[in-house]
Symmetry: C2
Subunit: 555 residues, 2 copies
């Protein structure tokens, strides 16, 4: 059998490696001319200020679209936005069955009901189960993370077994769901593991993560020490944390009010699946006025400084029924996602100005990350004993740190891959064998496309220097007829001497037409270009910036 015909096991991340979020990975099996594929996870990331008006950033799926006939299905490890948030927008391009746990499927359906989207054929699986997707024999292994029902995937193929960890940690005392299934990881390790594709997020942090239960105790201590209301903000899908807060409130004799759409949606899904069993019912906003301050805990959205979330509204005192007052406490049971620091700080300052106390990670044990620290990574290596370690989920610093750790731990092959690398994991030594197209597309309103397709490239220019539209009407002698119409949007109004820029630009446009010999004005494109240049340079002279200029010439 020639090499060409050999069945290979390949891994190809198209997002989430060397960047935060937007996890989207392919596994392939078969000879290179007839590879069968699965997609593992289909996440989004959020736009930064260089993408004004863009709602979401999605992985570019060009490569797998071209191979869609050989795509066997999509497997989702858990329902965080960076692992499943692109499904509704990407699925119509792939149209394959999606394997998910009940909680992920419930959240997806809740989102679809609210925002619209395709009716996706979902195959439910549970941690501990084993199922086939094409040539891939997949076992879902229970892990712990900051959401219900996270799993790692053991992906068995005739060429060997890969473990794709997804997001995980070893929580010795989770508040919902089973512990990380050490026994199964060890058993699969005994069978032999070709490669461990492993979460690197906390590879720079020493030691072991504290448990979710310890965070519950930390939150209860803060609540007990607080004289007034306590508002707790956390990530909506962290149902374990929400339970911790609800139980701490109950044990402190307080009732709980929930504020924020995404939090309510996640709680509804969790409730249907029994994850809120035993927690006292939450009170409604209308009951708020009847609850003494020291008997209340408010669970709210807005930990990332989102300006329309519940906590921001509380900070600006914009809520109809609910308000905070001096002496109240706000607990940030969350981390700052990079890029959100300033927005978070602004909300905190608004709260502090009102005499509200802030408690955050570092002040007390009120948050813990859902990703493995270095000791936990070492345990995973020991359980699974892979031949190859492929660090994923993290930025360059994290990937490099996990790579070094794995090498120190004696893993024979460390494979540093980046988005678009196709790496052959078996047979033979791991090797990057191809580069495939990857990148980002943008959801903007209802449209998904490139920067140009959604218009954001031009909007970036508009946001710098605005737009001027000019309408030049020429009479039959090619002189300007009547007044020249000019509309400037997003341009400075006056120059330093107080002259109106619109007037200066109109004068420049008229001057440009006048300066063209009448016989040459028949060339309307030439007139338009002369006006465009004159208007831009007049703006530049008065303002120091050149707007985009659109010229209409009418005869």
């Amino acid at each position: 059998m020639s090499r060409h015909d050999e069945a290979e096991l390949v891994f190809c991340p198209l997002g989430g490696v060397g960047e935060i979020g937007m996890n989207f990975a392919l596994y392939g099996f078969g000879p290179s001319h007839a590879r069968q594929w699965i997609v593992v996870d289909c996440g989004v990331t959020f736009p930064d200020p260089t993408l004004p008006g863009v709602d979401l950033v999605l992985p570019d799926t060009r490569f797998i679209e071209e191979n869609v006939k050989d795509l066997q299905g999509i497997v989702i490890t858990h329902a965080h936005e960076d692992h499943y948030g692109a499904l509704l927008d990407i699925w119509p391009r792939l149209k394959k069955r999606v394997w998910m746990t009940p909680f992920a499927a419930g959240l997806l359906e809740a989102k679809r009901r609210m925002d619209g989207g395709p009716d996706i054929p979902v195959q439910i699986y549970h941690a501990g189960e084993r199922f086939s997707v094409g040539p891939f024999d997949i076992e879902a292994l229970a892990v712990t993370h900051s959401i219900p029902e996270p799993v790692s995937l053991a992906i068995r193929t005739p060429a060997g077994t890969v473990i794709h960890t997804g997001d995980w940690k070893i929580d010795p005392a989770p508040t919902i769901g089973p512990k990380t299934d050490e026994a199964r990881f060890r058993a699969i390790g005994d069978e032999g593991v070709v490669a461990l594709i492993c979460d690197s997020t906390n590879a720079l942090r020493e030691g072991d993560s504290p448990s979710e239960q310890a965070v519950g105790v930390g939150i209860k201590e803060v609540i007990d020490a607080s004289p007034g209301r306590v508002a707790v903000t956390t990530f909506s899908s962290n149902i374990g944390r929400i339970r911790s807060v609800a139980e701490a409130a109950r044990d402190s004799g307080r009732q709980v009010l929930v504020l924020g759409t995404s939090l309510k949606r996640a709680i509804n899904v969790a409730t249907e699946l029994g994850y809120m069993d035993g927690v006292p019912e939450f009170i409604s906003e209308e009951d708020y006025g009847y609850i003494p301050r020291d008997n209340l805990v408010i669970l709210c959205t807005g930990s990332q400084g989102e300006s329309r979330a519940a906590l921001a509204k509380l900070a600006r005192d914009e809520m109809r029924n609910v308000a905070l007052s001096p002496g109240d406490t706000v607990i940030y049971s969350s981390r700052m996602i990079p890029g959100n620091e300033k927005a978070i700080l602004e909300i905190k300052n608004l709260l502090i100005e009102q005499g509200i106390k802030i408690v955050e990670d570092g002040d007390a044990l009120v948050h813990v990350s859902g990703h493995p620290r270095r000791n936990e990574l070492l345990k995973m290596y020991e359980w699974t004993r892979p031949r190859v370690l492929v660090p994923v989920h993290g930025e360059a610093a994290h990937l490099v740190a996990q790579g070094s750790l794995g090498a120190q731990a004696g893993i024979p092959e460390i494979a540093q891959v980046r988005n678009g690398d196709m790496i052959r994991l078996a047979p033979g030594v791991a090797e990057i064998i191809d580069q495939v197209p990857f990148g980002r597309v943008f959801k903007d309103g209802r449209i998904v496309g490139s920067e140009d397709e959604v218009g954001v490239r031009d909007r970036r220019k508009l946001s710098f220097a605005g737009h001027v539209a000019v309408n030049v009407v020429l009479d039959d002698r090619y002189d300007i007829s009547g007044d020249l119409d000019l509309v400037a949007i997003g341009v400075a109004k006056k120059d330093a001497k107080g002259e109106l820029l619109e007037e200066l630009m109109v004068d420049a446009a008229i001057g440009a037409v006048d300066s063209i010999p009448r016989v040459r004005r028949k060339d309307l494109d030439l007139v338009a270009e002369a006006v465009r240049r004159a208007v831009r340079s007049s703006a530049n002279e008065a303002w120091g910036k050149k707007p985009i200029v659109t010229v209409f010439i009418t005869r």
Copy 2:
């Protein structure tokens, strides 16, 4: 004498309190109907992404412009942008003499030569000197900070003495300039101090600041341990730090290359004033190729992730003569200014991807803040024994923290003021007696003005949904003549079905005209408004967003 005629000493911050940067404060003396004023500091802050295209944020000087005949002068405490950066733009509105130290005057002049600006009459003063500005008898007191020649101001008036600290700390071993002048602070304390207007930036940090000399040692240790090139990025005006780096390099047998315009400018000014005496000459970019890797230190701009600064160019390997390679080290001898975290992270990841090691504050003692921690604040209280403490320079959390600390230390009156509060410090108990207009204006290109005046409000809208310009030409029967011209900028190109949005919008515009009875089309405003609405709603239907629409109607 009625209260109205009593000479009062008042303080009125118009920027820099409850926010970062943009320090701008007034002191007034005299009866309320005939108050004499001075301005202390005139700083900028930098725009966040909600201000696209804006270059600088300046204090709104309306109030002092209205009272400009009673303004006696402007005193600058030091040459950081947040304390003096608005001078060139604000001065033409005030036109009064400016008191500055030689380093501040040198930097101002260097900036004016590069960027242009008014010829400002400057009166030079030195730490230790005493000078009069109208009724204010001012003594400049040496302090330490992260720039040459920082001072606190003791402002004596017949109603009593105020100490305005500016930015300061107690550095036991600065690398340039004198130590904080404890003896003079104590002597003025003995005379009696009405109020201490005091830097709050580090009021949440326990203990004392490490010295600049200790940072020099820390940097030398990192350099000694680095096998390859070492690049150090720091704030341009931190001449003490630049000296520390240059001396560490010299002691490690390395030569220094300086990259970045603002760094070179600050070093030139410092050199003229003798602050670089004894430091070996820096090498030029052309010499770079001849210096062995382990004999080189690169001092560069870009600590805040600025995309056009030297470090970003090094990270992207865009420099003609200079490059970093695997095994080199980059030291961030700086802090992250809030809002810049993500940009800084992106540069760091680019460097790490290339095998370059990052050393930052926390990894080693390579940076120290120039602001007083809690022990230093307590010392200042003890030296000056003020009747009133007014926390300034900081966000709400810092101001509140310093207020509590001052109260614990036994200061009788703690005055929490915010921008626009006018507080009477003497005679009598400190009291807020007025609110004056304050705010922000924006420098955008060459223009300074409000959000509307510089066009940024519209640009924010443009950046969300773009602009469409339509030209409708009606013939003498009020039918559309020829093709309808429509130009869409920053709008999605196609709808979900692949239809061109421009075509959909043209059809909507034509439909809108057709739907108006011919007799009513004489009302061109009505036609324009119908077209505008039709185009917006057609975009909204196809895209989910409504662009700004400009309609020209030509007959």
